[in-house]
Symmetry: C2
Amino acid sequence: MSKAETAREAAIPVLAEVFREHGYEGASLALLGNRTGLGKGSLYHAFPGGKAEMAEAVLDAIEAWFETRIYAPLRDEPDPRAAIDRMLTETDAYFRSGGRACLVGAFALTDGRDRFALRIARYFTGWRDALAAALTRAGFGPGDAADRAEEVVSAIQGGLVLARALDDPAAFGRMLARLRPRLDPSGGAAPGR
Amino acid sequence: MSKAETAREAAIPVLAEVFREHGYEGASLALLGNRTGLGKGSLYHAFPGGKAEMAEAVLDAIEAWFETRIYAPLRDEPDPRAAIDRMLTETDAYFRSGGRACLVGAFALTDGRDRFALRIARYFTGWRDALAAALTRAGFGPGDAADRAEEVVSAIQGGLVLARALDDPAAFGRMLARLRPRLDPSGGAAPGR
DNA sequence: CGCGGTTTGTACCGATCGGTACAGAGAGCG
DNA sequence: CGCTCTCTGTACCGATCGGTACAAACCGCG
């Protein structure tokens, strides 16, 4: 692996954190350079496309992480209940129990929306569809499974917004706890349906 | 009312829309000037504090709108069920059935967070507490009411994020529909609690 | 060592950022 | 009309924006 590729891989998590905290417009090249410890020359050598390519690389890395750690197990693991459980614990860990915002959600709300619409949509549809598949295999009817999957993906975003708005990360944990019984076919009945 | 005050009042909804679409950092003075039809001179005459004061005025206007249209009825209307129903329809209308993002949520996720933390938190606590009061009067136990209120406020934000991310405003309506039965004490039992 | 390509710090670019200064247009009033 | 005070378009400020150019430093390799 060339030095540039190494630097690129090492930089991506840091870039992600800066985009997460400041949004696309708010993350200036000066900030991105300082936090990664890379000068402008190095940054543009690793990401010739500039800031846009950095954001794309970050979004791709996030999608890859979710794909292997969450979506694929939801789709393929023999025991769907175990995969769903794993999704909840992985999600809680990824978002640091509410202490970390969702970069994709932040991009969706403001500046990056038009620029990265496709990747943003794919992140959410991927999650929703994989979860729906798992719920179907777990015993929910197809329509019910799709509905619950959408609800869960949506609720996770809501929990992150609220946790950040109230500066109360625990709000995210409470939201995950509310979700759990709704993902168990033997458990609570569908509320009002 | 002086001309400046009139201009200020007239400008606020437009400013709100620009902040909503671009976030705090993304909303440049040039953009704010063009959309309001006000030159820099007029803008700074109406908002001597500059961009920060514009955003504060917008947040104040939003809070006032929700306070009178939603929070106060939830707290004070004799029939809590009617107030809750009204909340749902007003919310759906305000967010244009998912076609409009929540400025407060967007600020919470990225740039405006530190700058406007207090107002952002107040928007959400105000909503949550007013709804909890209505739910209590409607017959839920205090703890249950508070929990459901937090869930609803969180879910609304999640629905808005998802609607925007998928470019599918209807996702917001589906979320509201899922919420409705959970706000009726005679209806569906609490799921898993 | 010298040679080649890769990597990087730095100077610089035009554009735009938020904000200020101010002259003159405009409106209210006697 | 003329005076006064409010308003506003425009020029301008220094800082910073994202991005480019390029020479020097660096590195593996012979």
